[in-house]
Amino acid sequence: MSYELSSNKGSLRTVRTAGRMRQIWSQIRANAISYLFVAPFLLVFSVFVVLPILLSVILSFTYFNMVQPPSWVGFQNYLTLFLEDEVFLIAVKNTFLFAAITGPLSYVMCFVFAWLINELHPKLRTILTLLFYAPSISANAYLIWTVMFSGDAYGYVNGLLLYWGVLDKPVLWLQDPTWMMGIVILVVLWMSLGVSFLTFIAGLQGIDLMYYEAGAIDGVGNRWQELWFITLPLMKNHLMFGAIISITNSFAAAGQLQALTGNTPTDWATWTIMQHLNDYGYVRYEMGYASAMAVLLFLTMVGVQRLAQRLLAKIG
């Protein structure tokens, strides 16, 4: 009897699954054209983005030195990060400080400057866009700042300050923890008019002028009202995009910091999570440990993004 019952259930299930499958298949056929549009991208995206991400999430629960096959260690990597790795905790503190300053500031800068130059004559706008964007156009233009802030008397800042008599001996700008973080933040802000800036310009140029004409009829009196009631609500999509770019750039900063303050900054004063990750991944070859950091960084960014989304919903 019990056997009959279970086999009955089983056949019922197969009937149901067959029905589901048919339903799914008919849905796919009904939307075939949409799937055709997304398929080429999705294929490349799955192979080169989704698959590697899933692999590294799995790796974060293993010990993997890239020579031997990975061995399962459960949550050990995560525990070590918080309980034993003091440098990681310093890196967390630095990353949050760095991100809290550069994230919002760079975001606001991107929008404000895009907005300010938006109404200029196209030729003038192109030139100014180029000047603002120039620092991010060459991958290593920021290395100029290492010459500017070089710790010896040959550095431009030291040279000038010595020449003017402000200093009597050169300051180790990039080796003295008092100055390091500040200078790094300055340089990163200097080169922050990048992806979001260009997107905001394109977004502003894409706003149909008729909205402003309609606004003028409805009594929008000055440019601030215009900004708040017309421009910002129409830019919501792009503002979210910019927020994500700012979040990823500020939380995952590593390259510029390392180039400016070196591979082992004094007192780890400018050491970030991403630098710690690179160090473990590509210097010590502890890929499982590095992946655990990537997962934590990812969760942090998703949390901050959710927060930003909630804030942006209040606009307009």
Binding site: P40, P52, P122, A141, A202, R223, I247, M287
Partner: protein, 291 residues
Amino acid sequence: MKLRISNRRLARSVGGDIFIFMIIFAMAAFMALPLVYTISQALKPLNEIFLFPPQFFPRHPTLDNFSDLFLLMAQSWVPITRYLFNSLVIVILGTAGNVLLGSLCAYALAKHDFPGKGIINSAILLSLMFAGAVLLIPHYLTMAYLNWIDSLASIIVPAWGATLGVFLMRNFIDHMVHDSLLEASRIDGASEFKIWWTVVMPIVKPAWLTLTILSFQSLWGDAGGQSTLFIYREELKPLPYALSQIIGGGVGRAGVAAAVTVILMAVPITVFIINQSQIVQTMGTSGITGE
């Protein structure tokens, strides 16, 4: 009724305009400073580069650094034109694929309704926030599996899956293309593919122009460092790699290094100027006027 007077909008005060101009130009000068410095450095003879106190502008400007660079490039055993060719192939194919695949997908995500759309949207959003650095090893394994190590495909094809492009294009299509315009085209019997190409893409021109710059620049500058990871044959390396080898020669090559920086910057800047000047404000052309 004509509300716009020439190119100026209503609701603008002259005082505000002047104030804004001052901020813009002060900022532009600060941003341009290192750009000017890079160029001036490239024009300095070697003895002036290490002068103390440092000089911002060269006293005896010279093009020696550039001729030295060309001399060094001529000595390289793989001809420099080969590196340039590699870079162009990577940049052109990578950018074209990124823009095309991204726009196709973005159109469906923005304007079609189909099961699975929500999942794709969140996957794209989330993947933007995963640190790319840890993905290099899985990438390497994939490339080895596909047998793409030592081929330009290892750099070009992954660029087509760059999430930034799809995300950007989707936002713009969603926001700039009116549904009523698509309906009208459908009633006229246009296929979805034709609508995408003749209706949607022209309207979102500012978006794909911007995406073109971003993609061009990241591929030109070898931003991901893939050329060192996936490509070992010297004759398949891109130009920035070859130039960085030349300037790896130490202090004596400081002048040449400055010339290299200028040349590497000149290409994206040229593309940028041509590209940005194409982006102009939509004036009631984006779809339906008088709605």
